[in-house]
Symmetry: C2
Subunit: 105 residues, 2 copies
């Protein structure tokens, strides 16, 4: 059992999104990405089995999908995507995202 | 790809914690539990392989462990536990929790 306090252990950076590895095990990989307003996790995908969840902890932005698709993203919104399906996020305000990948990449 | 807006799709209840199944797949199971102040997910465990993450989206409380152990829990705190290890949560204020179980139970 371990606890990670994301609001204390990760901050924001003007140069690009700040990435924190929260957990990595045979079961899942958990990451925290912090975005300054305007920063982006570009649309990407990997041709492997599995799914990813993107949970917005704080802030406002857009989930990004294939072909320029967007979905509004705000605190409490969770996006579920196959790892093989294009996904990303663009922040409109400072935004904290919790990403869970299973099985871990 | 699907989006779930937890703050709109789940609310709180005086009778007990409100449970929302967010996602269930061969890769992981995601649940949202909303607690009114004072409500509790009692300490429990299952003798199976895998791990669970408990991410506090909003509110203040305590993570619960074996033998009466507690750890402060607040927004942005993530607890990782083996499914086989005792874990739970007690809310001190209204609290929103995102639970991810991999592999799914």
């Amino acid at each position: 059992m371990k606890k990670i306090a994301l609001y204390e252990e990760n901050d924001f950076a003007e140069q690009g999104l700040k990435r924190l590895l929260v957990h990595d095990s045979p079961y899942f990989k958990i990451l925290n990405f912090n975005f300054k307003a305007g920063q982006e996790l570009p649309v990407h995908s990997h041709q492997i089995e599995g799914q990813v969840s993107l949970a917005v902890l704080e802030g406002v932005g857009e989930f990004l999908g294939a072909g320029g698709a967007t979905l509004p993203a705000k605190a409490g919104d969770v996006l579920i995507s196959d790892i093989a399906e294009p996904h990303g996020l663009r922040a409109k305000t400072d935004l904290r995202l919790l990403v869970t990948i299973a099985p871990p990449i």
